[in-house]
């Protein structure tokens, strides 16, 4: 199969639904489903009935504004979310009104304007199909131009060409570390060995982060296609997707995508009539945050306790079953298709000097617009929170935003004007992480927040290395004392000392970054720690000055 054949196929799929003038799209991603999107979908289908062959009710992926779910949009096929009429907080009883309005004015009562900054300030690359295509439909993906990047890579590019495009794009790993993707791919490609593996890390464990889940639920074929291109570039013929078991819907949709891609010849033997073959298998996690760490993840795929091992050797050299292995996360793979389609140089025009492209963030906490956004790297944090996120509800004052999950830190109001990228966040003592942003207002206690994250790390520590296993426990005990107003100044000093030791000596990223929430809250909200010191022992810094 070459590109022309694929274009014919896409045209054929588009023609099959050519008489559909309007689509009623219902978000059936996890967040809207948990607020009751399935009954809405069923009611709309029942209401529409067989009367209107020019209209169609379609289940789609995430539209982003999760706090207003269930979301329904009405649009002409092929058009995006912004050109559609969007309805919020839709109930099954509203189905009649929505269907009746298809030829006339929108239902004003449910209308959610799409000209607000939440929608207009976004730049969608990874999420370009989310909320538009039916994630379970292979035809829908192909009609939208899907699998063209893979066919192009296989038929017109050598693996070296693919590596060059990815390297030129400047894409960095979206799982948190920000390691240059092109370099990682090239390293694995250069390793000798017949057997190599590609792994997609979908063990999105940071509490408050749901980007990867939304991508898998909204556009699974895109991730699959990205993985296939990666496998071609590095010379692998087997790939695994390691998904949290807590994401049953994502697993189901990805499973469907694998099955359909295989049936259509985009997976399996001799893909697109070339010599390239690829098998993709899903492996389920079982509730262990540490399995997001790549060596622990590989141990888990091998059926072992998910405990990390020392690096080097890095997975690129000796990974799954000792073979060279490429591990990237979902969002990284989701960026590959546009890079191959539009070229690495195009991708490199988006973003900042050292962080290219866009980033998907999950906004949560005390913020008006809870949900998923995609913005170019380098967008000001203030824009993300106040303009796109709509600021803090209820007239309360902003206090801090937590990024990077349990490995990250809190950014206070004073630094809201930074341009968000990998490096700027690092200078503030936090990190990009996978992209969760938890906004906290003035009522949140930062000592409590630090204790919360330490409790998380303590219970998620695998128990292998001593500093992480016992250090997080001791730090949690100190934070607990402090939060209860029973801590002393000596406790604070010991806490700082333990932070340093655990950070420097732990075996894997979980332990090495576990102190970050404490260090960052101590750095920016020291006064809250001071105020929590036990009353009898309190000698505040200001008194002694």
């Amino acid at each position: 199969m070459n590109l022309d054949d694929l274009e014919d196929l896409a045209a054929q799929y588009r023609a099959a639904s050519a008489d559909v003038r309007q689509e009623v799209r219902v978000c059936l991603a996890a967040s809207c489903q948990s607020s009751g999107a399935q009954p809405v979908f069923d009611a709309l289908v029942a209401e529409l009935g067989e009367q209107r062959p020019d209209c169609k009710v379609k289940g789609v992926g995430c539209m982003g504004l999760c706090s207003a779910g269930p979301l329904v949009s009405v649009a002409a096929p092929q058009s995006g979310l912004e050109e559609s009429t969007l309805y919020r907080d839709v109930a099954p009883e509203d189905a009649g009104e929505i269907i009746a309005s298809l030829d006339g004015a929108p239902v004003a009562r449910l209308h959610c304007p799409t000209d607000q900054p939440f929608f207009t300030r976004q730049h969608k690359i990874v999420l370009e199909n989310a909320g538009i295509i039916d994630p379970d439909s292979f035809r829908g993906y192909v009609a939208q131009g899907g699998y063209a990047a893979l066919v192009r890579a296989l038929s017109e590019m050598t693996p070296a060409d693919v590596l060059r495009e990815v390297t030129e794009s400047g894409l960095r790993g979206r799982g948190g570390g920000g390691y240059p993707t092109g370099l990682k791919w090239s390293t694995v490609a250069k390793m000798p060995g017949e057997r190599k593996y590609v792994i997609c890390n979908a063990d999105e464990g940071d509490p408050g982060a749901f980007m990867d889940r939304a991508i898998l639920e909204s556009d699974p074929h895109r991730v699959l296609e990205g993985m296939a291109i990666a496998a071609y570039a590095i010379g692998a013929s087997k790939a695994y997707v390691y998904v949290r078991a807590e994401y049953p819907l994502a697993v189901e949709r990805f499973q469907t995508a694998i099955r359909k891609a295989k049936r259509s010849g985009f997976l399996g033997n001799k893909i697109a009539d070339t010599q390239f073959s690829l098998e993709v298998e899903i492996r389920l996690g079982a509730g262990a945050f540490v399995c997001g760490e790549e060596t622990a993840l590989m141990a888990s795929i091998e059926g072992l306790r998910g405990q990390p091992r020392p690096r080097p050797p890095y997975p690129a050299e000796s990974g799954l079953w000792g073979c060279p292995t490429l591990i990237n996360n979902v969002e990284t793979f989701a960026n590959i298709v546009p890079i191959i389609r539009e070229g690495g140089d195009w991708f490199a025009t988006i973003g900042t000097e050292r962080s290219k492209g866009t980033k998907v963030f999950a906004l949560a906490g005390t913020i008006t617009n809870t949900g998923l956004i995609e913005v170019p790297m380098g967008t000001a944090l203030r824009d993300i929170i106040e303009v796109i996120g709509g600021g803090i509800p209820g007239g309360k004052a902003f206090k801090a935003v937590q990024t990077g999950g349990p490995s990250g830190g809190c950014i206070p109001a004073a630094h809201l004007d930074i341009a968000v990228d990998y490096d700027s966040l690092k200078t503030l003592g936090t990190m990009m992480g996978s992209g969760g942003m938890i906004v906290m207002d003035e009522t949140s206690s930062m000592v409590d927040v630090a204790r919360y994250f330490m409790e998380f790390c303590m219970t998620e520590s695998c128990g292998k290395c001593i500093p992480c296993r016992t250090g997080t426990q001791q730090m949690h005990a100190i934070l607990d004392r402090l939060a209860k107003g029973q801590g002393s100044r000596a406790d604070l000093a010991l806490l700082e000392e333990l932070c340093e030791v655990v950070q420097a000596t732990s075996l894997c990223g979980l332990g090495q970054t576990a102190p970050n929430p404490v260090l960052s809250t101590m750095r920016y909200f020291r006064d809250e720690y001071e105020a929590k010191l036990g009353a009898d022992r309190q000698v505040s810094l200001t008194d002694s000055q």
């Binding site: 520590s461 296993r469 420097a504």
Partner: protein, 243 residues
């Protein structure tokens, strides 16, 4: 542990450890080179003859030009490496790690059969641990005396997994493993049943000999009487490689 068959492709490298210029084979790890040259590096989970575990973090060293610390047991040497094994910072970290271990479970040396022959105790002495700054957790752990020859005291276990590895890699029984996660981790025999009821234990006693503390001991020993013998290990390990 030197592998028995040396590949002709393995080259020799020179490196510098604590100011001494040394030569080594490029497939050796830092800790092997240090042991060869009598450079003391503390460790608890590492044991010649067993696979690398990399968990105690006591053998961390500084390598010039690298931002982070490296475990000497799992890092191979490279030509021109400049290594520091005993800086003020490393000593401070090691001391804290040993303190954390002492506070984790109830290590009471005065009533321990391994008193005076315990690797943890020796480390505490060499690392200058004269008191423990973090609070003791005071969690009670059980003692398993159901095996007719040996005894397991979880209070003294530091989860180094030497017992797990020797049982799997040398004896081939895989009676031991670790259950749970984080601070709930515990070494177990079979289905976490009493050791004496284990269906797979061969009573070979290798786990007892490799245990660095008084967690695994022979029945009938009294305070300070349990002296361990690990000489068999490199010999058996080499034999295993030859077959």
């Amino acid at each position: 542990m030197p592998p028995p068959v040396t590949s002709v492709n393995v080259r020799a490298v020179t490196l510098n450890i604590d100011g001494r210029d040394l030569s080594a084979r490029e497939d050796e790890t830092i800790i092997e080179v240090c042991r060869e040259n009598k450079i003391p590096i503390p460790s608890l989970c590492y044991l010649e003859g067993l696979s690398i575990w990399g968990a105690c973090r006591l053998c961390l060293v500084e390598i010039a030009g690298q931002g982070r610390l490296f475990a000497a047991c799992s890092t191979r040497v490279a030509d021109g490496m400049q290594i520091q094994t005993n800086t003020e910072r490393l000593r401070r970290y090691r001391r804290t790690i040993v303190e954390l271990l002492f506070a984790e479970r109830n290590h009471v040396c005065s009533v321990c059969v391994s008193n005076g022959h315990c690797e943890l105790q020796y480390l505490a002495q060499t690392c200058g641990v004269d008191h423990v700054r973090v609070p003791y957790r005071q969690v009670s752990y059980p003692v398993d005396s159901t095996h007719e020859m040996f005894r397991l005291d979880h209070d003294r276990c530091i989860l180094c997994t030497r017992c797990v590895r020797v049982c799997d890699e040398i004896e081939g029984a895989h009676t031991w493993d670790v259950m749970g996660r984080g601070s709930d981790c515990r070494v177990i025999t079979d289905m976490a049943q009493p050791w004496g009821e284990s269906e797979t234990c061969t009573s070979c006693g290798k786990c007892v000999q490799v245990c660095p503390t008084g967690a695994l001991v022979k029945q009938g020993t009294s305070v300070g009487e349990m002296v361990k013998d690990q000489h068999f290990l490199p010999i058996l390990a080499r034999r295993r490689h030859l077959t």
